[in-house]
């Protein structure tokens, strides 16, 4: 298989314009002849479904939640980047492009990233017109802040809930199209497989989560917008329902999976507090603007934070990275916290936490100023931990948060299966080995509002007049049967263990051996352990209830089965990549100072994996990356 990213020719800043001109168009009157399936209703899926429907296509949009508005994009706190340069501080499309490529540690595709930076400005216009209540200055203009260590203020925000507000914008646009009859919204339904006939994506098979009905849906193209796979770790900042089943089933049907080992661990989360913990909660990274991170100098210091004198505290980020201090990028902050805790200096539950201290900021700016900036975050922290962060330092610890890896897509966002598009976090394309803060919302909306609606037309125009395959086609029937059998197999398993207990065990292996730092022997061991646990899974799991009703254990059981396979691929990818870059830190490859050591000569490629059959070895395909506009440099935050 030859991976063709289909990057248009010409200078990077002209590629998208030229490509938009060169793509085929579907005549307005013909658009209604096409059906498009969109799976997922978050920022990417919701914006794509609404925009395609506005153009005149018939859209069927699926989500597992009871309403499209609840997709996990809603939880994003910080903000959304755009190269508006409203602050006159030297921002530009080129700078956002440059920062994103560099921040991704040179493992993303330049052409895609430049396009992302270009359309970022349109996103803000669109969202404002929809009524997204962004923060404003007194003159009525949009406010911006600097975020995640950026040197310019290009982040737009709506209190601490930018994700929810953008989400409501797309949900409203989507609702308008539902009312207009252009979108059929199918909630409480999960995609369990992709149907590929003659090499092209023809539809999906779903399970109705209330009645248990398994059925086929046919369309001219299928768009996956189902988010990331951080829940492979069990404990993550993702919602409980976030899952990788849609992308994994598509992978099994021929879509290559790119860079699965690029998983982002967010540095500022509330630490785990017990074995019953069900998820981890993120505290906005903006807290690092004023909070100082430290641990006791003495390992195992039993004193409470406020009793440890200044001289016996180690502000390790300020010490190790004097230029950026507490504002170093996410991957660096996370690893540093882990290494302090590994040395026994951690605090709190099982000594897995570091202090984030606002005492200095409160003294300098006064409590009211801190309250105004972070009041709701402090409240949230107190609600969860029972501790008052105005009086004692917060405790934080890194947690799995975002996955840069995902299904491989070309410049048109089409996967290696014809007619299957992948957008938002579910694809791999824009963030390389590390995503910058406030860029996830930007990418989701860029793909859905301003990229996919153009590129999908080019594909559809080539298949004018063919029409969707009927769902009684043998290809659909076979997949339906497979899915029914799989559901039955899960239900008839007579094991003793709950789905969650097995998922926790899998998550623990991934976190310990394929988390913030990795090495060859751990990864090899992890692969063996995952395989053994996977073998055991089908016999040891118990799934109560039946398939013809709302059955949350059954839903989870299917998702976890897919996570077992994905987890193994993630470890294999991490083992293959013998370098450290971005969030992927291989202990064998570091500088004498303990910083990540990239190997551009051998690993400047996208690792795209082909499914090797059940129990078989996956096959590696490489897309070599070229950096023509952002020269390869080593990141340094010292």
């Amino acid at each position: 298989m030859i991976l063709d990213p289909k990057i248009p020719s010409g200078p990077v800043e002209k590629k998208w314009d030229r490509h938009r001109f060169e793509m085929k168009l579907v005549n307005p009157a013909n658009k209604r002849r096409f059906d498009v399936i969109v799976v997922g209703s978050g920022l990417a899926g919701g914006s794509a479904a609404a925009s395609l429907a506005e153009l005149g296509y018939h859209v069927q949009c699926f989500c597992y939640q009871d309403s499209a508005r609840r997709a996990h994009s809603i939880a994003a706190q910080g903000g959304i980047n755009a190269a508006k340069n409203y602050q006159n501080d030297g921002d530009s499309i080129w700078r956002l492009f440059y920062d994103t490529v560099k921040g991704g540690d040179f493992r993303s595709r330049e052409a895609n990233v430049h396009r992302l930076a270009q359309v970022s400005v349109n996103i803000i216009d669109q969202c404002v017109a929809q009524g997204v209540p962004f923060a404003r200055e007194y003159g009525g203009m949009l406010d911006n802040r600097s975020f995640g260590g950026a040197q310019v203020s290009r982040t737009f925000y709506a209190r601490g809930q930018t994700g929810q507000q953008l989400m409501l914008g797309t949900y409203q646009a989507l609702s308008r199209q539902v009312a207009a009859g252009q979108v059929q919204m199918v909630p409480r339904t999960e995609m369990l497989d992709l149907v590929v006939i003659d090499g092209r994506a023809r539809g999906i098979v779903t399970r109705d989560m209330v009645t248990g009905e398994i059925r086929s849906w046919s369309a001219d193209a299928v768009v996956l917008a189902t988010g990331g796979y951080s829940n492979v770790f069990f404990l993550s900042t993702n919602a409980k329902g976030c899952n990788a089943t849609a992308i994994w089933r598509a992978h099994r049907r021929g879509a290559l999976f790119a860079n699965p080992c690029f998983t982002q661990i967010h540095p500022t989360c509330i630490p785990q507090h017990g074995d019953y913990q069900s998820k981890l909660t993120l505290m906005s990274e903006s807290l690092r603007n004023d909070g100082r991170i430290w641990v006791p100098v003495e390992a195992g210091d039993p004193r409470i934070a406020t009793e440890i004198p200044e001289s016996e505290r180690d502000y390790y980020l300020e010490r190790r990275y004097p230029a950026f201090g507490n504002l170093v990028p996410r991957d660096i902050a996370s690893r540093a916290a882990k290494s302090e805790c590994d040395e026994g200096k951690g605090v709190g539950h099982e000594a897995r936490g570091v202090y984030l201290d606002f005492a200095d900021a409160i003294e300098r700016l006064g409590k009211p100023a801190i309250e105004q900036k972070y009041g709701n975050l402090f409240e949230m922290y107190e609600r969860i931990t029972g501790e008052n962060p105005y009086e004692v330092p917060m405790r934080i610890y890194p947690a799995p948060h975002y996955t840069m890896g995902g299904l491989w897509v070309d410049y048109n966002l089409m996967s290696t299966v014809e007619g299957l598009y992948v957008i938002g976090e579910a694809n791999f394309s824009d963030h390389g080995a590390n995503r910058l803060g406030a860029s996830a919302l930007m990418q989701g909306l860029a793909d859905g509002y301003f990229v996919l609606p153009y590129t999908i037309g080019d594909y559809l125009a080539r298949h004018m007049g063919e029409g969707p395959t009927p769902t009684d086609h043998a290809g659909f029937q076979a997949v339906e049967q497979e899915i029914s059998d799989r559901v039955q197999r899960l239900l008839s398993s007579n094991g003793k263990r709950t789905v969650d207990s097995l998922h926790r065990e899998l998550g623990h292996i991934c976190w310990e051996k394929c988390g913030m730092s990795r090495n060859a022997s751990d990864l090899e061991e992890a692969i063996g352990q995952i395989q053994a646990l996977r073998e055991e899974y089908w016999d040891s799991v118990t799934v109560p209830g039946s398939g013809e009703e709302l059955n949350q254990s059954l839903e989870r059981a299917g998702r976890v089965a897919d996570y077992f396979e994905l987890a193994e691929l993630m470890c294999r990818d991490a083992l293959n990549r013998k370098e450290s870059c971005g969030t992927h830190f291989r202990e064998e490859y570091q500088t004498p100072e303990g910083e990540a050591l990239r190997d551009d000569e051998h690993y400047d490629y996208v690792a795209a994996w082909e499914f090797g059959g059940a129990g078989g070895e996956p096959v590696l395909h490489k897309e070599t990356l070229q950096f023509e506009d952002v020269p390869l440099t080593q990141r340094s935050y010292k």
Binding site: S47, S51, E54, Q65, D66, S67, A68, R69, R70, H72, A75, N122, D125, V128, A129, Q130, G131, P133, R136, E137, Y138, G140, L142, A158, R159, Q161, G163, Q164, Q165, L168, Y171, Q172, A173, S175, R176, V178, A179, A239, G241, G274, Y276, Q277, S278, T281, L282, M380, R383, I384, G386, Y449, F450, P453, K496, T498, D500, S501, P544, E549, L550, Q552
Partner: protein
């Protein structure tokens, strides 16, 4: 902590429901309320019984998926807190806790504690949007919005659509939800062209599912986001204005 839970169990929408009592001997005060249910469900599953169906997703108090009546209060005893953010330290050792699904005819039970909130989507579909196609938006800063207006709009936009307002209302009215949606857009300059048409359509749709508001104000007290009933007054004013102008 030792706790006694009386939990509403109902197999399907049509089945007859009943309270089932569960004893919990070792809850931690640091657990969230939903983690308590998780732990109970793990135990039930191991015993071969069906776990309690309840809804949750983000568990950060923002997606609006979760929500149950806890001792007769929507989302439980802590003010301004969704069920997922309620922690067991707000209860006392030895407490008895009654857990029910949202109480409202418009939100029929699907199973156990899971209800169908589709009417909320219908209200938004009736007009809760600004009609602007992708690509047709003007440059963002051409629409200045005074900061106090933006803040007020944001206050309304904080609604997470959980349904606590309806569940707590003795009339099963959805005025607070609808008013939050209406006001979020009606306050902004972008929302003006459709302002009166929007409120008419949304209120009419609301009335086809929900009961009437009699100013009991329970909704505001139950709202995990503290949405003010002031927005109901705004909505009513706009509705009245709209019905004169046709």
């Amino acid at each position: 902590m030792k706790l006694t839970l009386h939990v509403w169990r109902q197999k399907t929408h049509d089945a007859k429901g009943r309270f089932v009592t569960y004893s919990i001997s070792d809850a931690s005060p640091d657990m969230s309320f939903l983690e308590l249910l998780d732990v109970l469900n793990e135990e039930l599953t191991r015993k071969g019984e069906e776990p309690i169906a309840f809804e949750s997703d983000c568990r950060e108090g923002i997606c609006g998926s979760c929500g149950v009546m806890i001792n007769g209060k929507a989302h439980g005893p802590e003010k301004g807190t969704a069920t997922c953010q309620l922690h067991m330290r707000k209860f006392r050792d030895g407490d008895t806790i009654r857990v029910e699904p949202w109480r409202s005819k418009a939100f029929p039970v699907i199973k156990d504690l899971v209800v169908d909130r589709t009417p909320f989507d219908k209200i938004v579909q009736a007009g809760g949007f600004i009609s602007v196609n992708t690509g047709s938006a003007p440059e963002a800063n051409l629409i200045p919005v005074p900061r106090p207006i933006a803040e007020k709009s944001m206050d309304a936009a904080e609604c997470i659509g959980c349904g606590a307002c309806v569940a707590q209302c003795p009339n099963g009215a959805a005025q607070l939800f609808t008013a939050a949606k209406v006001s979020h857009l009606a306050l902004l300059p972008q929302g003006q062209p459709e302002r009166y048409r929007r409120v008419q359509r949304m209120v009419d749709e609301m009335e086809s599912y929900f009961g009437s508001c009699t100013n009991v104000q329970e909704c505001e007290a139950a709202c995990p986001k503290g949405i003010s009933i002031e927005f109901i007054a705004r909505m009513n004013r706009d509705y009245l204005k709209g019905s004169f102008s046709g």
